[in-house]
Symmetry: C2
Subunit: 117 residues, 2 copies
DNA sequence: GTAATATATGAACACATATTCACATACTGG
DNA sequence: CCAGTATGTGAATATGTGTTCATATATTAC
């Protein structure tokens, strides 16, 4: 056991403050779920393509070099995360981005990744 | 098979452009790895606390309600991602944030999460 | 030296997840 | 209705991941 430290650098009132500022568990879970969506190269690639144009499933698969089924599964996730929207035209389904924040997220993360040695 | 569509809404030159704009595979992988770090409630909680103060492992564990070992394992990941730095003082190790972008990432994602119905 | 404490780490486990395969569904043209 | 095409989906599989447990390491006090 070692949860006894009660770090001397920080006062009890500071601890209370920090604890109080923590978003509630549900918000944290949702945040994590949101980030998780971006934590996969395939989805990141799909999102990149969709950030450039509205595209159908088959073309997304061709561009990303993925199987149609894999793309469809991932698009389902992206739909559930409300990151993409879609439009049906006959048998073809066109997907596009549904969120203005995505580009910002890309940019901030790119900065971090690029800064590394 | 169904990678035959060659979507009529988009020209070949546009396709070439979109393909060319895709970051190389290594960059995409690194981006995904970066986001993946944020895609876990425990790590998100630890990062939140560290965004408020420099804290030792035991206190992080107490604040986050996690075991010491679990915290240590996650801190290792955060170290490898260069998101935290640490400082030893005797047997105590104090961790703190190592990246100015983290707060921006939090904010953008929170906006997205909060916008949902 | 020994005891006590803080942190790190490897193995094991349970669980999540990305892809593939086979097939279902939905729409179109004839 | 039938054939063809585009997309969606469930099951199976392989791989990744977070926690726990036990233990190792490191530092301090005595």
């Amino acid at each position: 056991m070692s949860d006894r430290c009660l770090c001397k650098l920080i006062s009890q009132s500071e601890i209370d403050e920090i604890k109080a500022a923590l978003p509630n568990a549900e918000t944290i879970t949702r945040l994590a779920e949101f980030y998780k969506v971006f934590g996969d190269p395939s989805r990141l690639t799909l999102l990149h393509f969709l950030s450039k144009a509205e595209l159908c499933v088959a073309d997304l698969a061709a561009l990303a070099g993925m199987g149609q089924s894999a793309v469809s599964h991932q698009l389902k996730l992206l739909r559930l995360s409300r990151l993409v929207k879609f439009r049906k035209e006959g048998t073809v389904v066109y997907y596009s981005l549904n969120d203005a924040h995505i580009q910002s997220l890309f940019d901030v993360a790119l900065e971090h990744v690029m800064e590394e040695s």
